[in-house]
Symmetry: C2
Subunit: 347 residues, 2 copies
DNA sequence: TTGTATGCGTTATCAG
DNA sequence: CTGATAACGCATACAA
């Protein structure tokens, strides 16, 4: 319950009987600038006094703030962070863990519609930022002006100023489809959000087609159900499949959320999963293992992806942008095999 | 793409032809200290130069940092934030929205095992903190020493230094049980995590008993299934109910996670929900609406609770602790009626 | 190798 | 009402 008074670098220097400069050198690892003896005296004093540096002062003095801005998208009404979305929350987990481990802190925020991020990054002297989601062009222009390293996640801005961390969506689509093919399925529907050029979904779609082709299967556009990334659309598509496509024995949904809807829709239509129809999702969000039956899906390891983004950013900050390879980091994918895929009995 | 140079308060003062002090006054709303004319000259200059204040400098100069520390628990392995838990992520959403709205930023982090939060809060000159989860005693002692306002969520530390924001768990338990009773059920099981003295769960349990009593129903200890807050336990309890308690027509699970397990367990045992057994959960996490059938539950409005915590903290910061009523804030509860409760046909 | 002095951007004090 | 000026805590160029 001691009142707790701020210990400054000067207190330390007096205690150790050296100058403030010496203390600063030791603190910043500028060994070689001070003698072994001074260094140990300083370290002892720091220990005894329980010195805690003031980052505001550091930041002001022109060095690092050790602060990273992390931006995630907001809900439609622009009021809340989209943190309920497991995708973003896992990403944030990965980022935070890595940052903390390296002595950085994270300012997590959304950005108000129409506002930029320039203010925040200037106010706080951010050392860097990780941006998720998609914004208007001027947003990115502002970002470039502050000249700190930036990592983009899930944003397809094609500008070499920004670092990106992605996954191999094409391979993921391939894996999912291949799994179904390997289990004897030949009529595989794709249920997905809008397929936009260069979007995540398009890549998964491409993987789907590649797997079909490789297996010598015919690609049937009628088996592609494309609309929106939502639980509701999954239901809808499943209803359509159950009603009009008896030949379809398997569904690849490009997102777990959609897959959950498909499960529900099939069930409502009296189809059993996986006995009548097999289903594979994408993402492996936590509900995937809790739904009934547990969903087989493509695991993104989203947390690892967050950590990767943080890594890349820290490297750019501490070793300069030049230290980074030009190619984007790509996170690994794997299958989470559960209970929604069944081997098709040879008919 | 202009290079972007830092505009200081001095630049503004020169542009406006006044002193830096005058600028500072205007910026901080110390009207009355300057003339109307000076004020408008300053405002114009700020606008023209696009001046952005440096919070590091502000913080160093002894005023507010406008930074709030938000701490959430970590996973077992102490590596990641527990943000995957919808409860925490929603809380964070609520907090962030309110803070940003008031010009504050949030540093979101976990706390390493054995470490305290004193370092962070000193380093960053935090104006306050919101702490979720439960920590060792020394952690709270440290917190008190920094003398900034603190709000605790879900922590039952009984110390008037800390503010708390809670929900009326007892009322929630009552609401859920009452709903079932109103639908004609008389044999209602309680499936729950460990009932600890003064814990959240105990209160819900008390509400359950009160509703029974009020309806003139007999409280049967055999209808209480108490073990752990997990999906798996829900399954297990449901199996036990299906196997050994044909008289039970309804279940109140004190957590949605458990309720999900109950749904699954009943289904595995060949019981239909809600035709054979009705189920009510607690929390209203997002999966509640996605599961099959959609779960009727007690909505916590977790986001609102986060906002409430932020409100309370900001008030303590800006108006002093004294401005706060002594009684803790209590967030409202409501029922989310979906499809797992059915009116019992009179037999 | 060590210490002194200055500046970083703001706020606050205290004479004008 | 206004304007110099001294902190705030730290890092660093420069002098010793």
């Amino acid at each position: 319950m001691t009142p707790l008074k701020r210990i400054t670098i000067r207190d330390v220097s007096e205690r150790a009987g050296v100058s403030t400069a010496a203390v600063s050198y030791v603190l910043n690892g500028r060994e070689g600038k001070v003698s072994q003896e001074t260094a140990s005296k300083v370290r002892r004093a720091v220990e005894e006094l329980n010195y805690i540096p003031d980052f505001s002062a550091r930041s002001l003095a022109g060095t690092r703030s050790k602060l990273i801005g992390v931006v995630i998208p907001q809900t439609e009404d622009q009021k809340q962070l989209l943190l309920q979305n497991p995708f973003y929350s896992e990403l944030v987990c990965g980022i935070e863990a890595r940052l903390r481990q390296s002595g950085y802190h994270m300012i997590l925020s959304g950005v108000d519609k129409g506002e930029g991020y320039l203010d925040t990054s200037m106010q706080r002297n951010l050392d860097g930022a990780i941006i998720m989601g998609i914004y208007q062009e001027s947003f990115y222009d502002d970002l470039k002006r502050v000249k700190v390293p930036i990592v983009l996640i899930d944003s397809y801005v094609n500008d070499s100023y920004f670092q990106t961390v992605s996954i191999d969506d094409e391979a993921g689509g391939y894996m999912a489809t291949k799994l179904l093919i390997d289990n004897g399925h030949t009529n595989i529907a794709l249920v997905t959000g809008l397929i936009r050029k260069d979007g995540v979904v398009e890549k998964r779609f491409l993987g789907y087609k590649r797997a079909l082709k490789e297996a010598g299967l015919f690609y049937n556009p009628d088996h592609v159900f494309e609309h929106s990334v939502s639980y509701e659309y999954g239901q809808e598509a499943a209803a359509a499949i159950a009603a009009g496509h008896p030949e379809i024995t398997a569904v690849f949904a490009t997102s777990d959320l959609v897959a959950m809807g498909v499960l529900r829709g099939l069930s409502d239509a009296g189809k059993r999963v996986p006995e009548d129809v097999s289903v594979v999702g994408f993402d492996d969000i936590p509900v995937a293992r809790m739904c009934n039956p547990p969903l087989t899906t493509v695991r993104q390891n989203i947390v690892a992806r967050g950590a990767m983004a943080a890594d890349r950013l820290l490297k750019a900050i501490e070793e300069g942008e030049a230290s980074l390879a030009d190619d984007p980091s790509v996170a690994r994918l794997e299958l989470a095999i559960r209970q929604t895929v069944q081997r098709l009995a040879p008919s």
